[in-house]
Structures are given as structure tokens and as C-alpha cells.
């Protein structure tokens, strides 16, 4: 396993080509990196090099999280996402989810390892009493346990699948979220769907994400998006035109680059950061190529 990356250890843009600028449209998604880079797993492709040792990015103070969620709601945000690290390592995760759900639909991205039956029951109760939808996204990359655990660590497949079954049994419909580490031809989507069906999940939900050249994958591809490249792309396809991420240190341009100093936006409030940004990070090319969004749908 690679050691967690210290802050600022990112691959610079590979060329001096001028980067395109994307206008900000409206705030659709607020991402809350609640546990910083603290995680009980240490996946080889992790976008922010999270892990169990001393995190390079500290967990977010709960009051700061609440302040930004309240501001986002007032600005008309559509969805709030909790991420990390592993969000269920945060001592206040349940009250924070309750606070968020009073204001907006809320999603948690988790590896599932800490969702025991009591936690699944607590989440189901929270969802049942909430005005808006609560979604739980459980990460699992490969339907084959050995191949999955080579990426995510020993036992990760079994524990993630157990969490999915527990959540499903409690009436929540978890979304299996996979990083697409394979090839386009391997029908990973279909095989993950089949895994869920074979596991007794009657309403299988799968979300695919591409690999980004950042965190433990820094230096592996990517590049600047130039103004010429943007001529063929609808700018609204890029999630930086409608998302911001809050983490220790401030507000960041998007969930992929959350916590990295070079992606931090200037401003004292969330509203201050809803301004155009430059597509000058190697990871920007992946969004441009795939049109992928980290949102649920």
C-alpha cells in the first residue's frame, strides 16, 4: 500500500496549455468531507489517499459542517453528500445526518464496514422520519471477492455486501458504488447488478465512477482541459459548475479535489465560492472525457 499523501503532494498539470474556465450555474450539490481523510480501509485507488493512520486532512468540525449545510439550504441546494474518509467514523454522524435531512435530501458514501444491525436500524428510523430522501452508497469495486479485496483490503467485499444486505433488510435501498477499475468490455455494471440480485437484493442499484489521477492514483494520466476542448462539451455536464465541497480548511471546487490546497476556493462563505473556476488539474480531464458526476443520478 502507498503511504497517505501529505497535503499538496499533487501532480502538477503536465503542460503549460491554457486551461478553460467554467462558469458557475447554481448550487446543486454540497459535499461534506466529514472525516477528512480518516478511514479504516486504505484502498489503492483512493482519490484522497485516506487511511487509518494519522490523516493528512483532519475531520471536519461538526459546527462548521452545520454552518455550511444551513447556508447551502438557504442558497437552494438540491442535495447534500457526506463523504471522507469513512463518514461513520465521525462521532456525530447520526445527529449531523438528522440536521442535514431537515434541510435537504442527504446521501452518505461509506465502505459499509461500520454498518452493523443497530446502525442499519438507526439509519432506517432516520429515513422513515425524514422529509427528504436518505441514500446510503456502499463502495464495492468488483463482484469477485479476491479481486475486490486486492483493491480495498482483506474482508472488504464480505463486509460491504453484509452492510448492503442489512440496509436492504431494513427497507433502505443502498446504492452499490464501484470505481470502474476494469475495462469497458467487462460489463462490471451488469455483474455487480447480478451480485446484488444473487445476494437477495430485489431492487439493485449500482453507481459507477471512473478512476481519477489524484490521491493514490496521482500522476497516472489526466491533464488540463483547454478552451478548444470545451467547444464540444456542454459546460453544465461538469460537476464543478454546480457543486462545491467543504472540508477542513475551507470550500473546495469539487468532491474529487476536496481538501487539496490548490483546489481551495477563496471566500469566507459558501456563496463567495460560487464563481468560475479553471479546469487546470489533471483530474479535470477525466470529468471532461467521461461526463461523469459523483452525484447519485
Amino acid at each position: 500500500m502507498d503511504a497517505p499523501a501529505p497535503a499538496g503532494r499533487l501532480t502538477p498539470a503536465p503542460s503549460a496549455a491554457p486551461a478553460a474556465t467554467v462558469a458557475f450555474r447554481h448550487l446543486t450539490a454540497l459535499w461534506v468531507q466529514i472525516t477528512g481523510t480518516l478511514c479504516n480501509l486504505q484502498c489503492v485507488h483512493c482519490i484522497n489517499a485516506s487511511g487509518p493512520r494519522e490523516p493528512w486532512l483532519a475531520p471536519l468540525d461538526a459546527d462548521t459542517a452545520r454552518r455550511y449545510i444551513a447556508e447551502a439550504a438557504a442558497l437552494g441546494v438540491k442535495e447534500v453528500y457526506f463523504t471522507g474518509g469513512e463518514p461513520f467514523l465521525h462521532a456525530e454522524i447520526l445527529p449531523l445526518l438528522a440536521f442535514s435531512l431537515e434541510r435537504a435530501p442527504t446521501t452518505v458514501l461509506t465502505n459499509g464496514t461500520l454498518i452493523d444491525d443497530a446502525m442499519a436500524g438507526a439509519l432506517a428510523a432516520l429515513a422513515a422520519g425524514a422529509r427528504y430522501s436518505l441514500e446510503i452508497r456502499v463502495s464495492l469495486d468488483d463482484p469477485d471477492a479476491a479481486r475486490n479485496d486486492a483493491i480495498r483490503g482483506p474482508g472488504a467485499h464480505r463486509r460491504a455486501l453484509a452492510a448492503i444486505r442489512r440496509l436492504d433488510a431494513h427497507g433502505l435501498l443502498p446504492i452499490l458504488t464501484a470505481t470502474d477499475v476494469g475495462t469497458a468490455a467487462d460489463d462490471r455494471y451488469g455483474r455487480l447488478r447480478d451480485l446484488l440480485l444473487a445476494s437477495g437484493v430485489r431492487k439493485p442499484r449500482v453507481k459507477m465512477l471512473p478512476v481519477f489521477p489524484v490521491g493514490r492514483m496521482a500522476g497516472r494520466g489526466g491533464g488540463v482541459v483547454t478552451p478548444e476542448m470545451m467547444e464540444s462539451v456542454e459546460p453544465s455536464r461538469l460537476q464543478c459548475s454546480e457543486s462545491r465541497a467543504v472540508a477542513t480548511g475551507g470550500v473546495y471546487v469539487c468532491p474529487i479535489l476536496s481538501g487539496f490546497p490548490e483546489a481551495r476556493m477563496d471566500g469566507a462563505t459558501l456563496a463567495d465560492t460560487l464563481v468560475p473556476n479553471r479546469l487546470d488539474h489533471p483530474a479535470c480531464l477525466v470529468c471532461w472525457q467521461t461526463g461523469s458526476s459523483c452525484r447519485n443520478a
Partner: protein, 270 residues
Amino acid sequence: MSTLTEPRALRRVAVFGGVYSNAHALAATLEDVRRRDVDAAFCLGDLGGFGPHPDRVFPVLKAAGVRVIQGNYDQAIALGHADCGCGYTDPRDNHYAQISYAYTLARTSSEHRRWMGALPAHRRLRLGEAEALLCHGSPRAIAEFLWESTTPDGLAARLCDDARAQVILCTHSGIKWHRRLPDGRHLVNVGVIGRPENDGTPRVWYTLLTAEPGLELDVEFVPVHYDHETLAKEMEAEALPPEFAETVRTGWWTTCLEVLPGRERARGRF
């Protein structure tokens, strides 16, 4: 984006979305509307897709004087896009969506494609004292889904502010709902008449809005029963996917489920 404004205030209107080539449900809806003493009927777009014989709905809409805006499906068919623009990522959903789209594109006359291409994106009207904006997905994006469980009050208020409207009427998602905001403004997803709303019955829904002086805006969802068995048989005769006919007969959605939020998905069979 083009917007048409109604010249005079209206008291009662019927509004529906998502015809989806379902000429039988369209006829039954308009027959019901005729008994309701409305000033006008509006359709919020998505005339084709899913059902058979797409050209059949246009003369019915025109003869009844329905005032139509453009949906993402209409825009895509008019411009000959590669797909419907719903943005599915599940290969299975894309498979079914593509069958439906290719079928509709190939069977929609050039005259009807031109007509859809000229439809306005929005309409504005006065419902009594209230300013209403009619759109397809949302006022800000033709293909944005506004589901009840994922549309916070703060977003609804923001959309009303930006549209300078006290009432927003939309469709696109396929399931009706109504939110009265604490400040008295309204967001109404009027539902669709072309496909049942994943509730286990074959009926479809349209919306009646009534603005009486001095009274709160009245929003009534009206169920419509139609000859769904004939529609299902026509779909089978046209070799459209059997999963589509199953939805028409049972009322449960069988495809394109990935866009549903958890709460709405939990209510369905699949």
C-alpha cells in the same frame, strides 16, 4: 429560451405532461377535461417515446387546442439527437431507452418534428392573482428531475424566485406531487398521462388548478382510466419491448428505474 405568455388571467386550467405516444390516454384525458369547465388545457411536453405510432397524438392535441411546451424528448426528436437526453448510465436502461427512441424517431413525420422544434420552452400565465410558470423538467433545465423526496423547500423557493413566479408547474419525472411552501407559493409536478406512475394500477393522472378570488389556489390530481389493454396490444404488435406493455398493464415501472430516488423506488415493485 422562448416563453409564451397568456394574454389574460385564467380561472381554471387542466395541465398534463408525458403523453409518450399514448393516444388512448390522451383522448380519455381530454374527454374528462371537457367536463371540467376549464379555460384552457396545457401539455408540458414529451409527446413521444415508450408507446406506439407516435404520429397519432399530434392531430388529437391540435384539434383540442391544447397549448404545448417542448419536452426533452420533443427537442431530441425535432433535432434528430442520438438519444433522448435522459442521461441513463445503467446499460440496461440505455438499451430500452434506445429502442424506444429509435422507434419514435423513425416513425415521427418531418412535419411533426418541425412542429415540436418550434414549441416554446416555457409558458407563463396568470392563475387568478398568481403568476405561474410552466416548464418541462424545471425552470432551469429541460431534463432536470424534480421528485418529491429530493426537492427541498429551499430549492423550490429558489426556483420560484428565479422564475419570478408564485406557481411552478413541471413534469418529466413521471410521478405527480404538490408542495405548498410556507410562504404560500406552489410547486406542482403535474404527472404524466402516457404511463402509469409506478403505483400498481394502470390509471394515469392529470392536474386541475383552480384560482377562485379570495381562496387558496386549488390543486387537484385527477385519475384517468383508459383502454390500456388496447394500447398494450398495439405495443406488442409494433414489437416494442414486452417490459413496456407489462408496465401499461400492471402499473409497475419495469425499466429506467435508476433515476428514481430511494423513497420513490421503494414504493414500486422493481
